[in-house]
């Protein structure tokens, strides 16, 4: 059994969502000329946005179910693929417009992918502009058990540990949904803690900063203590930075525990219990050193198989580091994803 936990279907343009938008918003979109949504998270023409052999002559890669299955499930031997749409509906500031587009995106994923290939599962994409609406969207989609998680971007307006977000986590727990945090910015803040960088390389590298801070925030604010059954999956986060961050949190937690007295487990324990990381991108050297990062993580159950299709993270059909032995690959491919996603049937 292999489950690809991070696949990005390519929404061609806003017109692709029109069949799933209320008529009012369809007309508004046409009148305002909202023909497409671009963000600088994944500019179409950057090499990273699509592997050369997955980039179509025109249009966005992976924009239909058959193509994604042919390019991303079959060559890798994946039995199930989890779709995490990145069409940047988080960009809207209007509560209503953001909600309309998030709903349309989820219905597009369902109609154009889930209904066309039983191997697909998907994220419920929500905008955090209005938390009540985000919860309502989770409630609307949750009865369809092909949705296995709720997805937000790592670069949020406020840290995800803050309590205004908690109704979302309650909804996740209520419905056996994981919480996925995917690389990318809502652009409510500068993408780095130091402001606006000049180059895309800086933006992309800085995603790790966002993840590090979200993990720290979720730990300190007690989300893992309040929701001990919630699984949080960091997607396209990289994971080589994780041990060093945990060491750092633990070091200062020792002296600052009294600020956050609800933290009854160490950061390492919390991560082992509740955090997971997608395999790709493997941001480390393909040597023994990389295998040692798994030892530093303290568990071989934390990494979930992913291709990050169609992003260009590796060549060929094997995203694994060469030092990962068959036993570890097997855990990453099947055991760990099944234990993470209650809706895949692997968890109690």
């Amino acid at each position: 059994m292999q489950i690809d936990c991070d696949i990005h279907p390519g929404t061609p343009d806003t017109a692709a969502l029109f069949p799933y938008l209320p008529e009012h918003w369809r007309d508004i979109s046409a009148m305002r000329g909202i023909a497409d949504l671009h963000s600088t998270n994944y500019p179409d023409m950057t090499p990273l946005a699509a592997r050369a052999d997955w980039r179509p002559a025109k249009g966005r890669p992976g924009s239909d179910a058959a193509t994604v299955a042919a390019q991303c499930l079959e060559p890798f031997g994946s039995d199930i693929g989890i779709l995490n749409p990145l069409f940047p509906v988080q960009s809207f500031y209007s509560d209503d417009l953001a909600q309309a587009y998030a709903s349309a995106l989820n219905d597009w994923t369902r109609g154009d992918f889930l209904d066309r290939d039983p191997r697909f599962r998907a994220s419920i994409v929500v905008s955090l502009e209005n938390i009540e609406m985000a919860v309502a969207e989770i409630e609307r989609c949750a009865p369809d058990r092909r949705f296995v998680q709720v997805m937000v971007l790592a670069g949020t307006a406020r840290p995800l540990g803050r309590r205004n977000h908690w109704p979302i986590y309650e909804a996740c727990v209520r419905h056996d949904l994981a919480l996925a945090i995917h690389a990318g910015q809502e652009f409510r803040n500068a993408p780095t803690a130091l402001g606006w960088p000049s180059y895309y390389l800086e933006d992309y590298v800085a995603h790790a900063q966002s993840f590090q801070y979200q993990l720290t925030s979720l730990f300190c604010e007690g989300v893992f203590n309040r929701y001990p059954t919630l699984k949080v999956v960091l997607l396209e986060s990289g994971w080589t930075w994780v041990p060093a961050l945990l060491w750092r949190i633990a070091k200062y937690w020792g002296g600052l525990r009294f600020e956050v007295p609800w933290t009854d487990r160490s950061p390492e324990e919390v991560v082992r219990d509740q955090l997971r990381f997608s395999l790709t991108p493997v941001d480390g050297p393909d040597t023994d050193q990389l295998r040692r990062v798994i030892d530093h993580l303290g568990s071989d159950q934390l990494i979930l198989f992913s291709t990050d299709y169609p992003h260009s993270q590796f060549e060929g059909a094997d995203p694994f580091p060469s030092t990962f032995d068959p036993a570890l690959r097997s855990i990453i491919s099947g055991d760990a994803p099944l234990a993470t996603y209650a809706r895949l049937g692997g968890a109690p």
């Binding site: 937690w253 002296g255 609800w262 324990e269």
Partner: protein
């Protein structure tokens, strides 16, 4: 094991602390609301002087946003890195910390027993009419 006189109880009021040397090691003794507690004056983390730390309470929580503050004055916080230890047991309250401060038994003995014993009481100014605070070490 010997007994070491800390101070005359009458000179060691609640809310204060005294330093003594026991077997060439510094020991801090606290009077917390009439109860006495002794610790070797060395934080098990990096060796900070616990005698210079703040005595605080035990802050616990059943869930985020819930604060339960008890045992005021019984938790010593090291001035260097803020690690907290129970002055009754030396135990740390943070799961990140496996170290334990070393407590010492402290008690009050009648002045008569001090002057009678072969202990360090002799080196202390003895006022037989008072009770003395002693450390066993």
């Amino acid at each position: 094991m010997a007994r070491h006189v800390v101070a005359a109880a009458a000179d060691f009021p609640p809310g204060t602390r005294r330093m003594i040397t026991v077997n060439e090691r510094a020991v801090v003794v606290f009077n917390v609301k009439g109860e006495y507690f002794g610790l070797y004056n060395k934080c098990p983390h990096n060796g900070g002087s616990l005698a210079e730390g703040v005595l605080t309470g035990l802050l616990q929580s059943s869930s985020p946003g819930d604060y339960s503050y008890t045992r005021q004055g019984e938790i010593i916080r090291c001035p260097w890195h803020g690690w907290e230890f129970d002055i009754r047991t030396g135990q740390s309250f943070c799961r990140a910390i496996r170290a334990k401060a070393r407590p010492l038994p402290v008690r009050v003995e009648p002045g008569s027993s001090i002057v009678e014993g072969p202990y360090k009481a002799e080196t202390v100014e003895v006022r037989v009419e008072d009770d003395y605070v002693v450390v066993d070490a």
